[in-house]
């Protein structure tokens, strides 16, 4: 167990060091949530065509945009893994006795921590737009946990895709194809109740829905999720563990 933890921490630590040295990606990723909240959100607040209960549309969509920002960033994590494969870094990691699951988990943890930094950026944008954010400790810790778990899910999903497609060109194609459907087939910018039956069925099995739901429950003053918070976290944890098991199995195949 100790070996597992040390290996996970070592991989995550190396990833964090790299992230700290080159924060430009984080800054560039801040532009998209800014546009969604400041442009899309403000315009749609005026339309009042989407029933959002007691919340303003901007308050309703802010958790969705945070979730989207995490999804869009983490889903391209696999590109870095393919790049590491081409550089021989993956080969070197795989010849060590470190458990494969620890190598994958280390990457996921790093993605989770990166997600937290992105959450700070979205919070700053939301603050500037007078979104009703909850500042109590319980809410902050819950949001942090949801963001961390959501980032782990989508980064590990991305790693699975990378292990299957194996080239950057194919990955970019698949990544583009996946992100928008995942986003639109969720409750990020409109409630699930508005969806036609077939889309509702997809949204219910989409992990992004549970991330948004948990965030809506905990991030916004007066916000309520569709599902109990424990259920959202339970689904996210189960999805992450499943993806972690699949990714650990597929990761060694990346170099073949």
């Amino acid at each position: 167990m100790k070996t597992f933890v040390y290996a996970t921490v070592a991989v995550a630590q190396a990833e964090i060091l790299k992230l700290m040295r080159d924060p430009t990606e984080l800054l560039s990723r801040a532009i998209q949530p800014l546009l969604w909240l400041a442009v899309f959100g403000q315009v749609f607040s005026k339309v009042r065509g989407i029933p959002t209960g007691n919340l303003s549309y901007l308050d309703f969509m802010a958790p969705g945009i945070l979730a989207q920002s995490i999804l869009f960033s983490a889903i391209f994590y696999g590109i870095a893994i393919i790049w590491e494969r081409d550089l021989g870094i993956v080969h070197k990691l795989l010849v060590t006795p470190a458990p494969r699951t620890a190598l994958v988990l280390g990457k996921a943890v790093a993605a989770g921590l990166r997600g937290l930094v992105q959450a700070v950026v979205v919070y700053l944008v939301a603050l500037g737009l007078n979104v009703g954010i909850r500042w109590d400790l319980w809410a902050m810790v819950s949001v942090a946990l949801a963001v961390f778990l959501g980032s782990c899910i989508f980064a590990t999903f991305s790693l699975v895709i990378a292990c299957v497609v194996k080239t950057r060109e194919r990955f970019m194609g698949i990544g583009q194809v996946l992100t928008m459907p995942l986003f639109f087939a969720s409750n990020a910018i409109y409630p699930i109740e508005l969806m036609p039956g077939w889309l509702k069925a997809i949204a219910i099995v989409n992990p992004l829905t549970y991330l948004v739901d948990a965030l809506r429950d905990t991030m916004i003053v007066g916000g309520h999720g569709m599902y109990p918070l424990a259920m959202s976290f339970g689904v996210m944890t189960a999805v992450f563990l499943l993806l972690l098991a699949i990714a650990s199995r597929l990761y060694p195949g990346l170099i073949r």
């Binding site: 070996t3 070592a10 060091l17 550089l87 021989g88 070197k92 990691l93 795989l94 010849v95 073949r256």
Partner: protein
């Protein structure tokens, strides 16, 4: 431990690897004794990288068996990984980290911790001659410095067997000579068995105690460089030995992926 020759660090029996219809290794029998620098030569596509990938547990064989340091690579992969070091052909040191950070990562993955880890990192930096630039990002290093760091990373856990896939590809003559000196120093000081692949005849002649030339996944010939040259004729060079046994013709230049990887590595090192 498996039923292997105790005098050998590496042993393969009828080792075969097929990729679809292509047979990369064809019933390969190989014995590499302890404390030997063993060179694998052969044209691109001969199976050199495939055998290294199988011996380092990165790839499964189609049939046959292989053992490293007395452990079967298929059924005792973790035991094998604890006892080997590997320097891939590509640049495996992370350019976005410093030398110390790269060493910390390797040490941690090999289970080194605390004061022991610190001591080994210090030792590795001294061995690779990188103490003064230990806190610089690796992407600022020359090709020779990166290779020295990679060898230090691959050996800081004191493996019994070290694998190197074309270790001096793309290096200038001075850097190449420094890498050779480091490898000889390692063998002398630790008694490590070293298996390397190379296209460089001078390197093979200078470094290797034993050589094998692979041709289409089979062993064409095995022996010491001196012996192999003598067998061909009094004036024969190792290049003559290579041409005589590898069956190289002008049309054979290796597969696209191998050539791309080789050129990519040479470009990054250059």
């Amino acid at each position: 431990m498996t039923d292997t020759d105790p005098a050998c660090s590496i042993e393969t029996k009828a080792l075969t690897k097929k990729f679809g219809a292509f047979c990369a290794l064809d019933h390969l029998d190989l014995q590499i004794p302890h404390q030997c620098i063993f060179g694998l030569l052969g044209p691109n596509g001969a199976g050199k990288s495939t055998i290294i990938k199988i011996l380092t547990t990165l790839l499964d064989a189609t049939s046959g068996s292989a053992s490293v340091a007395g452990f079967d690579v298929a059924s005792q992969a973790i035991e094998v990984r604890r006892r080997i070091g590997y320097v891939p052909q590509m640049l495996s040191a992370d350019g976005a980290l410093t030398a110390t950070e790269n060493l910390v990562l390797s040490a941690s993955l090999y289970g080194l911790r605390g004061a022991e880890r610190e001591a080994r990192i210090h030792e590795a930096l001294a061995f690779s001659g990188l103490e003064s630039v230990a806190s610089h990002l690796v992407k600022t290093y020359s090709g020779g410095m990166i290779r020295r760091l990679e060898i230090a990373q691959a050996t800081m856990h004191r493996p019994e067997v070290l694998f190197l896939d074309e270790p001096t590809i793309g290096l200038d003559p001075v850097a190449r000579r420094t890498v050779w000196e480091r490898l000889l120093e390692l063998k002398a000081s630790t008694g490590m068995t070293i298996l390397l692949t190379t296209h460089d005849m001078e390197e093979a002649d200078y470094l290797c105690d034993q050589l094998a030339i692979l041709h289409q996944g089979r062993l064409a010939v095995v022996g010491s460089p001196t012996d192999l040259k003598r067998r061909l004729g009094p004036e024969a060079s190792l290049s003559d030995v290579f041409v005589a046994h590898s069956g190289v013709v002008l049309e054979q230049g290796g597969h696209y992926r191998e050539v791309r990887e080789t050129r990519g590595t040479a470009q990054r090192l250059g």
